[in-house]
Amino acid sequence: MKKILMQGNVALCEGAIAAGLDAYFGYPITPQNEVAVHMSRRMRELNRVFIQAESEIAAINMVFGVSITGKRAMTSSSSPGISLKQEGISYLCGCELPGVIANIQRGGPGLGNISGSQGDYFQAVKGGGHGDYRMITLAPASVQEVYDFAYLSFDLTEKYHNPVLILMDGYTGQMMEPVQRTDRPPIPAKKYKKDWVLDGCKGREPRKIRSLLMNEGELEELNWKLKKKYDKITDTEIRVETINTNSVKKLDVILIAFGVASRVCKGAMNIAREKGKKVGLIRPLTLWPFPYKTIEKLAKKTKKILVVEMNLGQMVEDVKIAVGDKCKVEFLGRPGGSIVNQDEIFSKIK
């Protein structure tokens, strides 16, 4: 297929549709309104389900409804709307259901602004909702990655019976870049076992789906089962990109950033390298599971790690856990919907 110029928000739709999305539910909120608008046309053209729900809460519960039938559902929103979905996300995890959620982050806290931000890292990977659960969290940094991760998220969510979060931001959502669409067919409906779905008990015993476990020890048992699943995901699904870190024995600085911040870091890294500094970049593609081991290994190669985020310092805490005392960890952040620029990053490198 020819490459076409696509907006990030639209690439999210097209990647999901390519994977075999059956239903989309959403509520307007800037900077991701293009998702619902695009889906409202495309899903109807394909005779699939689109509903502009009455709220973000209703939308995540509609996803829950579709997921219990074994079909594929997605919802998207931006930061305050994702806050509203937290209970629903916890229920999806507790009931071990699939579902894809996209957060096109905006400045916060509160009503904030409509500019891109990375302020929801904690919300995404440290809970957000109640209880012990995790969500595979993918952090695309280009429109191509948005498309590819949208497709991938449906495979991961069905494989692990757990919701997957695509953590974009207003910049990635709004920017337009060329996208190579996939030739792959949709993920086959029967790829993963579906012996838990509720679709009417014809020919079998009735089933139930619930996360309320009141008998002694039952809920604890579920939690340990979830832990086992999350450990398996940690062992097999970490994705991380490392640039300019392997061909040298020692580095002056390693930059660590995700999403759009990582692109600005690339610019700063290239300026620094032109000036003779040995600078590398670690870019986590999965924020959970987090590439602790990769960071720990590379921390031994450098005196300083500079974490660059568009928030007050969230991922940096996980970096510090990985690094320990192997090297210095510094932080550069621009919160509240402001974007980092390569000059200020470069000034902290030298």
Binding site: E54, M62, G65, V66, T69, C95, C201, P206
Partner: protein, 246 residues
């Protein structure tokens, strides 16, 4: 001809945990009888509320899912849109439907979702110990209205059938009761119609069932039945509020 009246197939033999004289037991049986008579047990998916009926999936003998408090109409929408030939119904109490879930029920009705809603109105929050519900009547004492519900502090009861009757998307609304045999027979007819409407793809149907909550009302089951007759129906009159099928 021999006629047998016994536990319907759509109810499991398990004893349920409802209090003695609770209306839920009667309403569960009516829903189950209707599902048996319409022969849709194997294509039915129910959505349980948060409330006393939260364990409905242990009592009904077909596929049933849990849902977050107030959200069954949204969950039902998701299921029905991807499996339009299944029979999908929600079973909700006053807190679930008329407090936290007001947006969801209004919008499912507005969209005209082809689902059935069984709304159990016992004017109180049973499971959590008898607090005020949106449907608590004026003067009624509850755990959070110890002096009786007063309009100037707690406002007025919400009347769901009346509220939804102005909505285009709604096909059928009726308020019934299970406090005496005549009303139970009428309630069953109404519940059957609400499921038949779905089979006939007529649109959104809701049956509001006035029910007894003896423990939280502080009354015996028989006194509770009388109280529904003498007090509750004065605020919540029985009857059909909308019927597009006539």
């Amino acid at each position: 001809m021999t006629k047998i009246l016994k536990r319907p197939d759509s109810l499991k033999p398990a004893r349920h945990l409802y209090c003695a004289g609770c209306g839920h037991g009667i309403i569960h049986r009516l829903v189950a009888e209707v599902i048996d008579e319409l022969n849709v047990r194997e294509i039915t998916i129910g959505i349980a509320p948060v409330g006393c009926a939260v364990f409905a999936y242990d009592y009904f003998n077909f596929d049933v899912t849990e849902a977050a408090h107030g959200r069954p109409p949204a969950v039902a929408t998701g299921i029905k849109r991807v499996l339009p030939d299944r029979i999908v119904f929600t079973y909700q109490g006053d807190g679930d439907l008329a407090a936290i879930g007001t947006a969801e029920i209004v919008h499912a009705a507005t969209r005209g979702e082809n689902i059935t809603v069984i709304f159990v109105n016992n004017t109180t929050y049973g499971m959590t110990g008898g607090q005020m519900a949106p449907t608590t009547v004026i003067g009624q004492k509850t755990a959070t209205t110890p002096f009786g519900r007063r309009p100037e502090y707690e406002g007025y009861p919400i009347k769901i059938c009346e509220l939804l009757s102005s909505t285009e998307g709604v096909c059928y609304l009726e308020r019934v009761s299970v406090n005496n045999p005549k009303n139970v027979i009428r309630a069953k007819k109404s519940i059957k119609k609400s499921f038949q409407n779905q089979i006939d793809k007529r649109g959104f149907s809701l049956v509001e069932v006035l029910s007894m909550c003896p423990v939280n009302w502080g009354k015996t089951p028989i006194e509770s039945c009388k109280w529904v007759e003498e007090v509750v129906t004065k605020t919540f009159p029985l009857g059909v509020f909308k019927d597009k099928t006539v």
